[in-house]
């Protein structure tokens, strides 16, 4: 592999790598309204996400994760997006939205990495709302 081909790799484009190396919104919320954890056992990716809620909207999101570039960058982008959005809207986000947000197609082997942050966030929202998360990311 040449350095050039690696850098031009669409999966590892600048944006993803930047978020991976400098993850923002990283940490735990002291007074989280709801928290959820999820993992992708195949990779060893783990994420814990917490939310604060005000007027049925997400007031703040923080997460702690140990994972690959795709899941970590995804967690950041998702946390940025979710802030200020209505719980009901965020819990309806799907796989298509995530792929668009990341701007990549990770392929079947890595799709789980891309979807892990959304799943954890949904778990947190569902638990806050007292709903049962059925676990299908396509149709919440």
């Amino acid at each position: 592999m040449t350095e050039k081909s690696g850098q031009s790799d669409p999966l590892y484009r600048e944006l993803i790598l930047d978020h991976y190396k400098n993850p923002r919104n990283f940490g735990t919320l002291k007074d989280a309204a709801s928290e959820a954890e999820d993992s992708n056992p195949l990779c060893g990716d783990e994420i814990k996400i917490g939310i604060k809620v005000k007027d049925s909207k997400i007031a703040d999101v923080k997460y702690v994760c140990s994972g690959c570039a795709i899941s970590t960058a995804g967690a950041y982008l998702l946390s940025e997006y979710a802030k200020g959005k209505r719980l009901d809207d965020v819990r309806r986000l799907d796989r298509k939205f995530i792929l668009k947000m990341l701007g990549i197609n990770p392929g079947p082997a890595r799709i789980k990495c891309a979807l892990l942050p959304l799943k954890a966030l949904k778990l947190a929202i569902y638990s806050y709302l007292g709903l049962k998360f059925k676990g299908t990311l396509g149709n919440p």
Partner: protein, 408 residues
């Protein structure tokens, strides 16, 4: 094996000609499964083209041929691992099923509260989880031998855990699928003998690589998979010392495992059929037979040194400030090298290598307890086989250096 020999045998493997992401395939995922030579593919194809039939019960010509093919494969396996008779060879799907056979057919009936079993932290989940279940369901005490800093088993701990007169089972892999460590089976046999314990050997990573003789090793039960030694998936072997196998209870009931079926009770078939209920994987056995012939032609004694040579080259080429390898000292190493690049997730490494046509495995490698002990969530693993070359190891090292740069 010299480079000429390897070049020649590479021609037997059609898949090695293909490109992956526009680059020649560099297949370094052999501990997961090996590729198949033309000779194996042809044997399976020829079986379907000329002899396909169900075995054992038919009297027509095809059934006789299929039975002959299936049973001659059993004899070839027995001969290959030094079993005393073909009756000790039970065909199963894979090593996992073989170990489960021991669990359901023997361990569940014979072990209970007050008994102890000793396993190790480096076992594949298939030789780890069944014993947790045994501890849960039967109250058997489990002891887990750790690995030392040098990625070898702590044999002092082994001795200590096995002592005390209660150990009924010692179960261990011959070669670690994650670390490549060749475990000291002679020493483990001695520990088992001293404590009057059964000795189960998971030989998944050793039978494909070196001459394994069950008599010389002195184990009581051995499991391995065909697909890690050039044969098709779905065929594996459980070998058990005949006298012990006589004491197993059947755990799958149905056709072929019975001699006589009455309205209220049935009589079991003789060994090994008692443990092979239902239509078996004849094509798999035929493929395994062809694979054994292929490996014997190369010479089993030449395979491990070849993998070791590539592993040594791999460790020395990868060793740099930015890469950590998890490999035992040279003498105990085999053709498996796991590594991590601090700051880069193993899956990202594997994806970047895949872009260069290099197939490696990343993740916990079905050894989550070991990963925890090593303090990593996952690793990337390169594993070598007969068709891999020094040049391919060089490609891996180069690609890894470039992959690292992507993340700097």
């Amino acid at each position: 094996m010299d480079s000429k020999e390897i070049e020649k045998l590479r021609k037997d493997f059609p898949i090695l000609k293909r490109l992956v992401n526009g680059k020649p395939l560099v297949y370094l995922d052999n501990a997961a499964t090996t590729q198949k030579p033309r000779q194996v593919i042809d044997a399976v194809s020829a079986y379907y083209a000329s002899s396909n039939s169900n075995v054992h019960r038919g009297v027509h010509a095809l059934s006789e041929e299929a039975t002959e093919a299936y049973e001659s494969a059993r004899k070839a396996v027995a001969d290959f691992i030094g079993a005393e008779s073909a009756e000790e060879i039970i065909f199963v799907r894979n090593a996992t099923e073989a170990i489960n056979l021991f669990y359901y057919a023997y361990a569940l009936h014979k072990f209970g509260r007050g008994d102890r079993l000793v396993k190790t932290i480096l076992e594949h989940h298939s030789n780890f989880v069944p014993w947790q279940q045994l501890a849960w369901s039967r109250g058997v005490e489990e002891k887990i031998v750790n690995v030392k800093q040098d990625f070898t088993l702590d044999y002092d701990e082994f001795e200590k855990y096995a002592a005390g007169g209660r150990t009924k089972l010692i179960t261990v892999s011959h070669i670690s699928n994650s670390l490549g460590t060749v475990n000291d089976v002679r020493r483990i046999r001695e520990i088992a003998e001293k404590n009057d314990s059964l000795f189960l050997l998971d030989a998944c990573q050793s039978v494909p690589h070196l001459p394994v003789d069950v008599g010389r090793i002195g184990c009581d039960f051995m499991a391995f998979s065909g697909h890690k030694m050039l044969a098709p998936m779905g065929i594996g072997v459980a070998w058990c010392r005949g006298e012990l196998l006589e004491r197993f209870e059947p755990f799958m009931f149905g056709g072929d495992m019975i001699l006589k079926v009455g309205l209220k009770e049935s009589e079991w078939n003789t060994l090994p059929y008692k443990f092979e209920a239902g239509t078996p994987n004849v094509e798999g056995a035929v493929g395994l037979h062809a694979a054994i012939n292929y490996l014997k032609k190369i010479g089993l004694e030449k395979i491990h040194p070849h993998g070791l040579q590539l592993a040594n080259q791999c460790v020395s080429e990868l060793e740099s400030p930015g890469i950590k390898t998890y490999s035992p000292p040279n003498g105990l190493r085999s053709g498996i090298v796991s590594f991590t690049v601090p700051g880069v997730h193993p899956h990202d490494i594997a994806t970047l290598l895949d872009r260069e046509g290099i197939a490696v495995r990343s993740g916990h490698l079905c050894t989550q307890p070991l990963m925890k002990a090593l303090g990593v969530p996952a690793v990337t693993r390169a594993s070598f086989y007969i068709y891999n070359t020094k040049e391919e190891v060089g490609k891996l090292a180069d690609a890894l250096k470039s992959a690292k740069k992507v993340f700097v």
